[in-house]
Amino acid sequence: MIVALPFAVAGLAMLGFIFVCMVRLGIGPTAADRAVALDTINTLVVATMVLLGAAFNQVVLLDVALVYALLSYVGTLYIARYLERGLS
């Protein structure tokens, strides 16, 4: 159950910002714009996970955020490698 309410409220705010990034993901004219939006969503999701881990007051949940911070960036790098080859 949620123990610390302020952290949950901050996590809810982060979800609102993720929605704003989702708008850019939808309308972005080029693929690079969308990749930037995905990168921003990655960072915000890691922040949300850490905040909610504190809100639930369970240490196990913070490990997910750690794994995520390291893994989510592989996808960004892969898309960047693809764009760099210039295959429009």
């Binding site: 309410l5 993720i18 969308r34 996970m49 794994v67 995520y68 592989v74 996808g75």
Partner: protein, 83 residues
């Protein structure tokens, strides 16, 4: 309505938005990016349902592996979807 329910509803709405974008976009690379965002939020939903192990698996599969495989597939075929 507790704040937990609000969080879950918001995340589910975001997942639906991401999935609709993934289906709707004609550029397949953009579609893959939308799908990656959607699976990211799906992992957040698993996390909220107190299943950290499933969330870690979803992180590995959804964020890294699926994106890599789809990008490889796009590179071998073509990027724009035809009408």
């Amino acid at each position: 309505m507790t704040i937990l329910a609000v969080l879950q509803v918001v995340i589910l709405i975001l997942i639906v938005v991401g999935s609709v974008l993934a289906v709707w976009l004609k550029d397949l690379l953009a579609s893959v990016i939308a799908l990656a965002g959607s699976s990211l939020l799906l992992a957040l939903q698993f996390y909220l349902l107190q299943a950290p192990d499933v969330a870690i698996a979803e992180a590995g599969v959804g964020a890294a592996l699926t994106t890599a495989i789809f990008v490889l597939a796009i590179r071998k075929t073509q990027r724009k979807e035809e009408e």
